[in-house]
Symmetry: C2
Subunit: 427 residues, 2 copies
């Protein structure tokens, strides 16, 4: 039986006990113990900052007390600090359909996007796309992606511009003969809309463009196959669904077929073919290492591994199945139990077009979200008027979904939110 | 009494006990207890990776367990994560003669140098230096500085080149009417040579150039006054003398007089005037924040504070006095007790031209350093043939100096090093 509203759970659970019964059958339920979550909190913001793996505390103690404090400078070799970006990249690779030697964990998503865009423009400039001068992206893309593209375009030789497209429907036509590179975020940070990667990549290629994918809201959230999806370059975040820690270094993927042609202006010593020869001319190392720049924040970087380890105990397919069940349930329960309160779903109902988050608009979305957070249901708010709820199958239960909706219903039924509340940064 | 060799300690201590007597009079000696150093090690590599502040372990536990694990996304506001780059910058500022609101701790030194160089070129391009197309630096500068300048110059519009100068003596003439920006590392990573910042800045300005200073081997090592020194922009490292942790985020200084004109291509959302408005056009924030780019690695960043706290218990003047005493003593003892072994001092004897490190060449420098490390005296090796010893007055004692020299003497007297040893990365 399939619910007409949503797709995966039917009949709609009518009680907390019914949700607890779903939890009892959930093969991922035991993985919640791998995370340290506070009592009394329903955490639906793992799409902004993933929860803390239990293992991170002991790992931090080891890297700080032993590797840094005791072994000191020797740890660059003995603890493999130099190799961390590549080692973590290899461990992350299966989650995105990448091969070993194609991913490094390093720097921020913004910086990696700058490198990827520069690399794509460089490939075009040296080939059949030499006359193309436009970077195409969505106006609704995550702002820093647009800003980085604007920064790159504005400073580069050859006069590039960034073309902002207003809707997904207008994208195909905007990818024209002037377009050098398409830059898209695979799952939209606000709406949870998931692009059809393979179709959009194929269209870009058919028009002679290259395509760069930002996987910030996809990696660890939805199954990905960058090779099958026709991506040229990709970047992503480790501190959301991958649970790498606040602001943990991001990743960049350069497939082997593009590595020899890949060049980027942030040419620091970690990307040098022979950094300890200390020569005065930059010469990029072969392979993915040329996407590296400067020395990495080792403690933050190390902890990324604690998040990745958890994924090795399940599969992206199992995660996706539960993700759809959770988001289906949330949508259905909200629509059933909070009806008449003016909530508007902004997330696609179609599974193939949905990430692992759900957004509802409400005229007083900011105030309602503040009230939810005060009651222990942590989502976040995004302009304009969107309450955003992230579902992370590794640690979110069906009971969590029930509890969140009941608290939302209670707040709305009782008008228990302060519309005069100041808007602040709800990240 | 002043030693003819070195300047600050006379007569030369003739025994370990004499060095212990110096330690007993050392006002900085109590600060050694602020660091966790392993037993049996003389650590003379704090110029590469500073020692671990004792406070870092508890601070890491708090940021991981409480701020990340318990408070989760709320910590962006409640724990002040967003403000960390500026808060740490303000705390670092007194060490370099900067004002509050002029420094942020963020990204890597390489990336900050890219921003600083781009910012300086931008200022020139918009003013009297519009025709200038050359970045002047030293061939012996730290390689990543040169690589980043090459990357920037090669990718920018307007066709810049990087001019490598072979010696300090040739620098003044190389700063000519074509020179847009001079980029110098204040204390040379290999030799410990310290530039005369004020004189070189004044010369650059007299020639119509701007000057960017890299303080990687200066901050926390020597007193700095960027304003009095006439610097235009500066960057530096927190994981060397500032003891911020392996690969900890670096810093960038933009003085208030240049902030309005400062622009750089790594225009990420953290540098936006209103990041949570999520608008599609980049607009830089007023002040030092425009030197920020993407989300920062919070755990590594937080621990920088533990290193900075220690400096607030002393002064750069006290640190400098001890630094010169330590390096004087090391030079004098090595020259007295290891005479005849072919060691060659590469570090200036003149105090004003010396940082807080000492380098000696030896034909088998790599093998001798490997033997020293095996015996617990941790320095490092830099091509060509240089054994490099860093002296960090916060935790290095005069007895440490004695012990290091005695072990070096023993190794050299007995030829107790393996010249066939493979060269590897001694960082």
């Amino acid at each position: 039986m399939v619910s007409p509203l949503s797709g995966s759970i039917s009949p709609l659970p009518a009680s907390r006990a019914a949700c607890a019964a779903l939890d009892a059958q959930d093969p991922l339920a035991p993985l919640r113990a791998k995370f340290d979550l506070p009592e009394g909190v329903v955490y639906l913001d793992g799409n902004s900052l993933g929860a803390r793996p239990v293992a991170a505390l002991a790992r931090a103690q080891d890297v700080i007390a032993r590797e840094w404090g005791h072994d000191l400078i020797r740890s660059w070799n003995t603890a493999g600090w130099f190799e961390l970006p590549g080692r973590l990249g290899d461990r992350l690779a299966p989650l995105i359909g990448a091969a070993k030697g194609e991913v490094v964990v390093t720097d921020s998503t913004s910086l990696n996007l700058f490198k990827a865009l520069a690399g794509a423009l460089h490939m075009q400039a040296g080939g059949a796309g030499a006359a193309r001068r436009v970077i195409v992206t969505e106006r609704g893309n995550f702002p820093t992606d647009i800003y980085m593209a604007q920064g790159l375009a504005g400073w580069l030789a050859r006069g590039y511009t960034v073309r902002l497209v207003d809707s997904v429907e207008e994208l195909p036509a905007a990818i024209d003969a002037d377009c050098a590179v398409v830059m898209l975020t695979h799952v939209n940070y606000r709406t949870g809309y998931q692009h059809d990667m393979a179709a959009m990549s194929a269209h870009a290629h058919a028009q002679g463009a290259l395509i760069v994918w930002d996987l910030a809201h996809s990696a660890g959230a939805v199954p990905l196959d960058l090779h099958a999806g026709g991506a040229d370059l990709a970047v992503g975040c480790t501190y959301k669904y991958l649970n790498g820690g606040p602001g943990a270094p991001a990743f960049i993927w350069v497939p082997k077929r593009h590595q020899a042609a890949f060049a980027q202006p942030l040419s620091g010593w970690w990307g040098h073919a022979n950094p300890f020869a200390m020569g005065p001319e930059f010469a990029p190392i072969d392979g993915i290492g040329r996407a590296l720049c400067g020395t990495q924040p080792i403690i933050s970087l190390t902890l990324v591994e604690c998040g990745l380890e958890v994924f090795e105990q399940t599969s992206m397919e199992a995660i996706r199945a539960k993700s759809l069940a959770l988001t289906d349930l949330f949508i259905a329960l909200v629509e059933a139990r909070c009806a008449g309160h003016g909530l508007g779903l902004v997330t696609p109902r179609e599974h193939a077009r949905r990430g692992s988050q759900v957004g509802f608009t409400h005229d007083h979305g900011f105030a309602v979200m503040a009230a939810l957070i005060a009651r222990g249901v942590i989502g976040d708010y995004r302009e304009p008027a969107i309450m955003r709820f992230g579902f992370t199958p590794l640690y979110t239960s069906f009971t969590d979904v029930w509890d969140a909706v009941e608290i939302l219903r209670d707040i709305l039924d009782n008008g228990a939110y302060d519309v005069a509340a100041m808007r602040g940064a709800v990240t």
